[in-house]
Amino acid sequence: MFIFTNLSITVASIGIVLAATSFISGLQLVRSTSASIEGMIHRANGYLTIILFIVLTLIAISSSMINMAALLLPLTGLAVFLVKLWIIRRHKRLLKYVSWMGGTLITIWLFVFYVNIPV
C-alpha cells in the first residue's frame, strides 16, 4: 500500500539492501579463501551506497521544508564512509575497527529509513 510513495523511502530501502550485502561480504572478506570475489561484492555495493547517500542529501536539500535529520544522517553516513576508506588506504593498523564502522553504517541506514518514512 503506502510503502514506496516517495523517492527518499525507495532510495533508503535500496540503501539498506546494499549496506547489508556489503556488510556481510565485508565480514566474509576477513576469513574467506576467495577474497577477491568477496572484495568485489563489498566494494561494488559499498560504493553504490555512497551514491545513495549523496542522492538522499540532494533530495533533503531540494525539499521545500528541510528536515534536519534527513539532511544530517546521509552526511554522517558519508563521513563514516570516508573515514573507513581513509583507514583502509592509509592506516592499516586501525583495520580492526572497520567492521564496527560497517555496523555503524548499517545502523545509519536504519535511521535514514526511519526519518524518510512518508507522512
Binding site: M1, F2, I3, S13, I16, V17, L18, A19, A20, T21, F23, I24, S25, S34, S36, I37, E38, M40, I41, A44, N45, M65, I106, L110, F113, Y114, I117, V119
Partner: protein, 260 residues
C-alpha cells in the same frame, strides 16, 4: 472547470488584478454572490470578507500566494457571513491564522495551502462549513483549530508538521473528519477537547507524539483511523534479509563467472 464556467455565467465576475489591484478592493466592491477570480502572483494583504462572495485563484495555490501585510491579522478573515468560498490560495505569514472563519456558516474552503502561520485554519463559532483538500502544514501552533464550531466537514485535508497539534476541536460537536492526513506534528495528531458526537473516519495519524487524544466530551465515533503503519516496523528487517540473499546471489554469480 465546468462549475467555474457555470458560476461565471450566473453571477458577475471580478478579475484581480485587471479590475481591482488587490483582492481586498475586489471584495469591498463586489456585490452579493459575486465571484472574484485572482490571477497568479504574490499578493501582500489581509483580506477581510464580510459578504457572501467566492474568491477563487485562477491557477491554484502553487502560483497564487497571499502573504499577510499585517502579521497580527489573519490572511483571510471571514466574519459574520454565510456562503463564502475560498479556493486555491497559499495563505502565509500571519501570526494568527491563514484562514479565519468567525461566526460564519456554510463556507467552502477548498484546495488552499495555509502554511507557516500561527495556525493554519481557524473556525470560531462557525458551523456547517466544508473544508476539503487544504494543506494546513508547518504552522507555529495548530494546523486546523475549531472552537465552538459544529457540524463542519473536514475531508481530505493535510495537517502535518505543525509545531503543536494537527487538528484541535475545542467545545465543538457533530463535526465529521474523514480521510485527512495528520502526520508528524510535535504534539497531538487530533485532539477532541470537551467535544462530543464527532466522527473520525479513515484518517491517517502517523508519527505524532500522541495520535488521537479525547479529553472530556463523549459519544465520539472513531472508525478505521490508522495511527501507524505496521509495515514500516518490519520493513527494515525484510530489507536486511534481502541484502543477505543479494550477497549469496552475487557471490554465486561471480563464482560462476570467474570459475572460483
Amino acid at each position: 472547470m465546468l462549475s467555474l464556467t457555470a458560476l461565471l455565467l450566473i453571477y458577475s465576475t471580478i478579475i484581480v488584478p485587471e479590475n481591482y489591484k488587490t483582492i481586498q478592493e475586489a471584495v469591498t466592491n463586489a456585490s452579493l454572490d459575486d465571484t472574484i477570480i485572482v490571477s497568479e502572483g504574490n499578493y501582500k494583504e489581509n483580506v477581510s470578507v464580510t459578504k457572501p462572495v467566492s474568491i477563487i485563484s485562477r491557477k491554484g495555490p502553487e502560483f497564487t500566494t497571499v502573504r499577510a501585510a499585517v502579521p497580527s491579522e489573519p490572511v483571510f478573515k471571514v466574519s459574520n457571513v454565510n456562503n463564502v468560498a475560498i479556493t486555491g490560495f497559499t495563505a502565509t505569514g500571519s501570526l494568527l491564522s491563514g484562514i479565519y472563519l468567525y461566526n460564519s456558516n456554510n463556507a467552502t474552503i477548498t484546495d488552499n495551502k495555509t502554511v507557516k502561520n500561527g495556525r493554519g485554519i481557524i473556525l470560531y463559532g462557525s458551523s456547517n462549513n466544508m473544508l476539503t483538500g487544504n494543506s494546513a502544514d508547518a504552522n507555529k501552533k495548530y494546523g486546523i483549530y475549531l472552537e465552538s464550531s459544529h457540524r463542519n466537514s473536514l475531508v481530505k485535508n493535510s495537517a502535518s508538521s505543525n509545531n503543536d497539534n494537527g487538528i484541535f476541536l475545542s467545545s465543538s460537536s457533530y463535526n465529521n473528519l474523514t480521510d485527512n492526513n495528520v502526520n508528524h506534528n510535535t504534539w497531538n495528531g487530533i485532539i477532541l477537547w470537551d467535544s462530543s458526537n464527532n466522527t473520525l473516519k479513515d484518517n491517517r495519524i502517523w508519527r505524532n507524539r500522541f495520535g488521537i487524544v479525547i479529553s472530556g466530551g463523549g459519544n465520539n465515533t472513531l472508525i478505521n483511523n490508522s495511527t501507524w503503519s505496521n509495515i514500516y516496523v518490519i520493513m527494515p528487517l525484510i530489507l536486511a534479509y534481502i541484502g543477505i540473499i543479494s550477497y549469496l546471489v552475487q557471490r554465486r554469480v561471480l563464482q560462476t563467472i570467474y570459475r572460483v
